[in-house]
Subunit: 225 residues, 2 copies
């Protein structure tokens, strides 16, 4: 599905203008002849920023093009539709979040307590929601329904894996008696509480992401002071 929603890298390369004289080593990139995959990346980043700021429907492909100094038709050289650009933002954001979450858990000592594991999961989730890369996951959270059914299905798969990491941790805390609510419902409430933080958290405020994590744990888990 991601193949058909975006121009493949091969097709893109094939339509390039005739190659410059062969040259050894890494090719020089001028401002005009930029590496295409980098330009594509810039489009995804700018789209993420504007989709988050103004919403998908309220953002025009012209807005995105102009922000990168392109003309209005140029984004369609890289993406076959506005929706394919949204899909790229969401899919790449989710895959990045899943990967960094997995890495965060791997650096934990194997005997880490369920509480410590939850702390890492919550801290990481704040990172993707509120940290430097914050434009991606909120777009997934709020523009989900604008995807095609196929796009939604593909994103749902990644999301399921992401959330699955939380299940044993919450189950364990429930067994320890430190989480009284049903773990399944608790997980949904907790994701809601965290996800919503994008609506009110100010990165320049007094609260650090570490402090925010501590507050969340104080609220959700008993006896962790």
């Amino acid at each position: 599905m991601s193949r058909s929603a975006e121009q493949s890298a091969g097709a893109t390369a094939a339509s390039k203008p005739p190659a410059a004289p062969v040259r050894r080593g890494r090719p020089r990139k001028t401002a005009q002849q930029r590496d295409e995959s980098q330009r594509r990346t810039e489009l995804v980043r700018e789209a993420a920023r504007l989709f988050r700021l103004k919403g998908y429907d309220a953002t025009t492909t012209r807005d995105i093009a102009a922000a990168l100094g392109m003309h209005s038709g140029s984004p369609f050289y890289y993406f076959e539709s506005k929706n394919a650009l949204l899909f790229a933002v969401i899919r790449e954001g989710m895959e990045h979040a899943l990967q960094t979450q997995t890495e965060s858990l791997q650096v934990l000592p194997s005997q880490a307590s369920a509480l410590e594991q939850l702390r890492v999961l919550v801290r990481h989730h704040f990172e993707v929601l509120l940290g430097p890369e914050r434009d991606f996951i909120p777009v997934m959270l709020y523009e989900w329904r604008a995807l095609t059914p196929e796009g939604r299905a593909e994103v749902a798969k990644i999301k399921d894996v992401y959330e699955a990491a939380w299940v044993p941790v919450l189950d364990s805390l429930h067994r320890q008696g430190r989480l009284k609510a049903c773990p399944k419902v608790a997980r949904l409430f907790i994701f809601g509480a965290l996800n919503w933080s994008g609506q009110w958290f100010k990165a320049d405020g007094r609260l650090s992401l570490d402090a925010l994590t501590e507050q969340a744990l104080l609220l959700f888990v008993e006896g962790d002071s």
Copy 2:
């Protein structure tokens, strides 16, 4: 602001066709000559439903008109713009929610505990989010930024009053040691958890709003089993 955003009732009445012969008692309403304020109400309800279902930008005034059997220009007889319709949905939804919240608290015995007060607040909030009138508050939550600055300011005032009712309750629980997190941050997290429930709660599922309320209290408040 609400005066200038919508046609006033007076101006609307003045542009009606010549009055029918004077008649005693309540005037009969045919399908064609409906009470204008009722038709206005239907527009607000239908707009709320579609704005929630598809989003404000993705809903056209034609969609709303068609759902009520009107022609495309007719909504503009009642509202001067699509944005005025959004404002009406959000403002009326918030005012209704504030009123029912106040009423819910008033029927509590005066010596009710902070926990009982929180239970009422949470249960009521689920009611406006997930109950029969569920189309209004979610539109406020997710379409807020589409309002004019003046509209946002007016809605923010009502929202502040709504949220202010939670402050002493959470402060009290904090003093009792049953809410360990900072009450201010806790309130934001709790609203997030509840507000997000609209994303996953299925009204036809196994979980009632009462059961959902109990789960929320188990998650947020210590020692309430």
